[in-house]
């Protein structure tokens, strides 16, 4: 079952602009993670935000988490052509001690030079 759902499915912007992607989920979580996937490659972990955190920064990335709305957003500032990739959110259920992450279907970001 898919817990995380990203929005939009695709996003095209110009270099230098900011890119915002959203993720919604359905059940209580311990944490939410964002991953990046370059075309035809494996996923790479970007950032993890815990359920008791509201905002987290890493370089040009800013992640917010609103547990009351069960949603998160990933902001990439001053985008570069190299940021072109698919971005996925992943959640783990806080109940049952699950070791599984559930991934959304991803947002495909294109940054035009």
């Amino acid at each position: 079952s898919q817990q995380g759902e990203e929005d939009p499915q695709a996003l095209s912007i110009q270099e230098g602009e900011n890119a915002t992607m959203n993720c919604s989920y359905k059940t209580s979580i311990n944490n939410l993670q964002w991953y990046r996937q370059n075309s035809g490659r494996g996923l790479v972990h970007l950032i993890l935000i815990r359920s008791n955190e509201r905002e987290k920064h890493s370089g040009r990335l800013r992640v917010t988490l609103d547990t009351s709305k069960k949603s998160s957003s990933l902001l990439i500032t001053a985008s570069r052509a190299a940021d072109t990739a698919s971005y996925f959110c992943a959640t783990d259920a806080s109940e049952g001690g699950s070791e599984k992450l559930v991934f959304g279907k991803g947002t495909k970001l294109t940054v035009n030079p």
């Binding site: 996923l43 599984k100 559930v102 991934f103 279907k105």
Partner: protein, 113 residues
């Protein structure tokens, strides 16, 4: 650096063949996962293992089996490959507990003809 390696980047097999996909991680992680990724469907969990010789079904285990005889190695087996198993297969590993990132291999693109 954590490394997750997969035995092949590209694989072409015939319908009915038995197929082995191998995954090896070098960080002594307890948990290992196999996903398949298809356009529009995101990542779907096939099986995961939280210890040697232990396994649990994911969301789409039908037509697959797994083997984990050693901690560092997790194999995905297609007993009798079918064309609907043509996909990108991604292996991942993670240390135990819900608040850790997953490390992914580069993926194996399997084509069944």
């Amino acid at each position: 650096d954590v490394k997750v390696t997969q035995s092949s980047r590209y694989l072409v097999k015939r319908t009915g063949e038995k197929v082995f996909l191998e995954c090896v991680q070098d960080m002594d992680h307890e948990n290992m996962f196999w996903y398949r990724q298809d356009p529009g469907l995101g990542l779907r969990l096939i099986y995961f293992s939280y210890d040697v010789k232990m396994k649990e079904k994911g969301d789409i285990p039908e037509g697959y089996s797994v083997s984990r005889e050693k901690k560092e190695r997790f194999s995905l087996i297609l007993e009798s490959a079918s064309t609907n198993q043509t996909s990108m297969y991604l292996c991942a590993s993670r240390t135990g507990g819900p608040s850790y990132e997953q490390y992914f291999g580069p993926g194996t693109r399997l084509t069944v003809t």
